[in-house]
């Protein structure tokens, strides 16, 4: 477990380096408004990455999260525009749709035996297509409407500056970490990811685990959809496009590996923060768009490589130390 702790410290250290660099070189980075905006920006990705962390720990992947968010939001937009449903009901419906969509992914993966990538890629096409079909149209032409329902918009709001979405992100992350580390589902999740066949043979119903993690992700997508909708104040057929890559990047940067069995929610939170800080910070300098892209990519490469190098170095050190200890105690035995 020392390894994990060191990995964690290294990630946090890299995050702090980024923050210090941006803070000292730009006058607009360390302002209260900017920090709060930054936290708001990482929250939507962060909420979804809690669910996707579960999936990636089971050695799976989910490419449909953005589309599920878009579809859920579009259904809500339709409800808001065409009916007089109270906001609370719409919020509950959003959560249900997200959860069901996630469950669909789970079914495709477990009952139809589709590889995760294919199942979620297909549902991405499916839900993105449905969002387009369900877009609000006036005489055949898509006319996206501005949401004016305060019950919904209040979700995008803030309490003396701190955005609600950030608070919810923290709650969801804590809940996720608890489920992952303290419940049987969490144990089974790690087991399924580490070695599915052995987990299967030791009696774990890996199918149920897979369905659960996809459903959890769907639920998170539902939450994210509400907040995204509230923040934008409108829904377009493109809402949520590209979100899946941002989420996966955050989760992987935060320490989960595609091979499964490693990582946790805390790491993904750090990953989400890292990406948000990077995107936010780059806007502060007078850089041409090309340079913005190059800097962003380079920082990620440098940080990831450094992270890996340092971890390798520390692991070597630990191995050497434990070898020493073995030799010492071996002498006595």
């Amino acid at each position: 477990m020392r390894q994990e702790k060191i990995r964690r410290l290294v990630s946090i250290a890299l995050l702090l380096v980024l923050v210090i660099v941006f803070g000292t070189t730009s006058e607009y980075f360390f302002t209260t408004t900017n920090i709060l905006t930054l936290l708001r920006e990482c929250s939507v990705v962060g909420i979804i990455s809690v669910g996707v962390s579960f999936i990636i720990i089971t050695a799976g992947i989910d490419l449909s999260t953005g589309a599920i968010v878009g579809f859920t939001a579009m259904i809500c937009a339709n409800l808001l525009y065409y009916t007089n449903m109270p906001a609370q009901m719409i919020i509950v419906i959003a959560l249900l749709i997200g959860t069901l969509a996630g469950y669909l992914n789970g079914i495709l993966v477990t009952k139809l035996r589709l590889p995760d990538f294919i199942a979620t890629l297909s549902t991405q096409f499916l839900f993105r297509g449905l969002a387009l079909i369900c877009a609000i149209r006036t005489s055949g032409v898509i006319t996206n409407k501005v949401i004016d329902n305060r019950g919904i918009l209040v979700m995008g709001g803030s309490i003396s500056g701190l955005y609600l979405v950030t608070i919810v992100f923290i709650i969801v992350a804590v809940l996720g970490q608890i489920i992952l580390k303290k419940t049987q589902l969490g144990v089974y999740t790690y087991a399924t990811g580490a070695n599915r066949k052995s987990a299967e043979l030791s009696g774990i119903d890996t199918d149920k685990v897979k369905r659960s993690v996809f459903t959890i992700t769907g639920f998170c997508c539902g939450i994210a959809a509400i907040f995204l909708m509230a923040k934008l104040g409108s829904v377009t057929p493109d809402t949520g496009t590209g979100l899946e890559f941002e989420v996966i990047a955050a989760v992987v940067v935060g320490g989960c590996a595609f091979s499964g069995g490693r990582g946790d929610i805390f790491g993904s939170v750090i990953g989400a923060l890292f990406m948000a800080i990077l995107s936010n910070g780059i806007l502060k300098y007078n850089l041409p768009t090309a340079t913005q892209l190059i800097v962003k990519g380079s920082v990620i490469v440098i940080m990831v490589v450094f992270d890996s190098l340092y971890n390798g170095y520390m692991e070597k050190k630990i191995r050497e130390k434990s070898k020493e200890l073995e030799e010492l105690s071996g002498g006595e035995a």
């Binding site: 019950g151 934008l232 377009t236 496009t241 806007l283």
Partner: protein, 348 residues
């Protein structure tokens, strides 16, 4: 299984909490939406600015947020703006890539407000999705000038290429070019793109006046040359007779032309685009396209820049507007006969 029970319990509790919390939040007054926050900060300002900057002397920052970088139209706007502002050393002009995403644009807008930019020129990815951001910027005293696509909230100004009218012009000219009879296909923008939808609406409305012209089919070419090439190929396979092709932009018209030429069916085909980029004009000169609707995008960009400078130095607070004033860029119908009139220096 036990695990399912525990997880279901947690999810159920979460759902119940959400219901309670969301009801409470709506009533709670300490939670403020973005709107209410910005109303609070701007209610203290009147219709006239307290202090006015001199945009030609004081340090001024102007931001340009196009929908996507690499687009010929956005490049022309950028050149127009840069050329206009280049002479003023005190002006910083900065471009931010919207990456064709409303979410990215709203993030950028929020940051521009935080960094206290003096004016923003924006090509919205979607008019409804950017409404909140534009409102925030205006409330913070930053005039927002939109290009082509409006934002569903009153702001400093909209400078637009015509779209509905452009579609009508294409339909009229194409029908005349086809002697008012024949079959036509449409290669569309990405599904849901407002400009494409308006172009097509104008096209179809005008074509309805020509009873002998039949619109056979419409498929999306996603604004891209190579995709339009593929779509046109499929059209050529399916339909033995195609007399006219309307593409929502020049890039796609070029692709359609390439497909038709490779299949040997370009002769007599009326291929029309919209935008007026330099390559399309060359294609028209070489007889590969029948026409396009040209707008001087250099001028459009320059107009945006001039308007921005004007508004920065103006005493009027644009957030007090109740509707957005619009500047429409006059289109030029480009055909093999008129293409010569478009000089080299206004080709983009």
């Amino acid at each position: 299984m036990k695990t399912m029970g525990k997880t279901k319990k947690i999810l159920g509790v979460a759902l119940a909490c959400t219901l309670l919390v969301s009801t409470a939040l709506t009533g709670c007054s300490s939670v403020k939406t973005d709107d209410e926050v910005s109303k609070k900060t701007s209610s203290t300002s009147q219709e006239v600015k307290a202090e006015v900057k001199n945009p030609y002397k004081d340090e001024v920052k102007i931001a340009f947020v196009p929908n996507v970088i690499g687009d010929s139209v956005a490049a022309a706007w950028s050149t127009g703006m840069k050329d206009e502002l280049a002479v003023y050393d005190n002006v910083t002009f900065q471009t931010f890539d919207g990456k064709a995403s409303a979410e990215t644009q709203t993030q950028i807008m929020a940051d521009l407000v935080n960094q206290k930019y003096d004016a923003i020129v924006l090509q919205s990815a979607d008019s409804a999705a950017l409404a909140t951001s534009v409102k925030q910027a205006e409330a913070a005293g930053i005039p927002v000038i939109t290009l082509n696509l409006d934002a569903d909230t009153p702001h400093a100004g909209l400078i637009a290429m015509v779209d509905y009218e452009a579609g009508k012009l294409v339909a009229k000219n194409m029908a005349e070019g086809m002697n008012k009879t024949g079959k036509v296909v449409i290669i569309q923008a990405t599904a849901g793109a407002t400009r494409g939808e308006n172009l097509e609406a104008g096209f179809r409305d005008e074509m309805a006046n020509y009873q002998d012209v039949e619109i056979l089919d419409a498929q999306s070419g996603e604004w891209l040359t190579e995709k339009a090439n593929v779509v046109m190929n499929d059209f050529l396979t399916k339909y033995k007779q195609i007399d006219g092709v309307f593409c929502h932009n020049d890039a796609m018209a070029e692709g359609a032309s390439q497909a038709a030429e490779a299949a040997g069916r370009l002769d007599g085909m009326q291929i029309w685009g919209a935008d007026g980029e330099a390559k399309a004009l060359e294609y028209i000169e070489q007889g590969k396209m029948a026409g396009t609707i040209y707008t001087n995008c250099f001028d459009q960009g320059a107009t945006a820049a001039r308007l921005a400078m004007y508004l920065i130095g103006s005493e009027t607070v644009t957030s007090s507007y109740t509707s957005t004033p619009i500047v429409k860029m006059a289109p030029i119908v480009v055909t093999p006969e008129t293409v010569g009139s478009i000089g080299e220096n206004i080709r983009w």
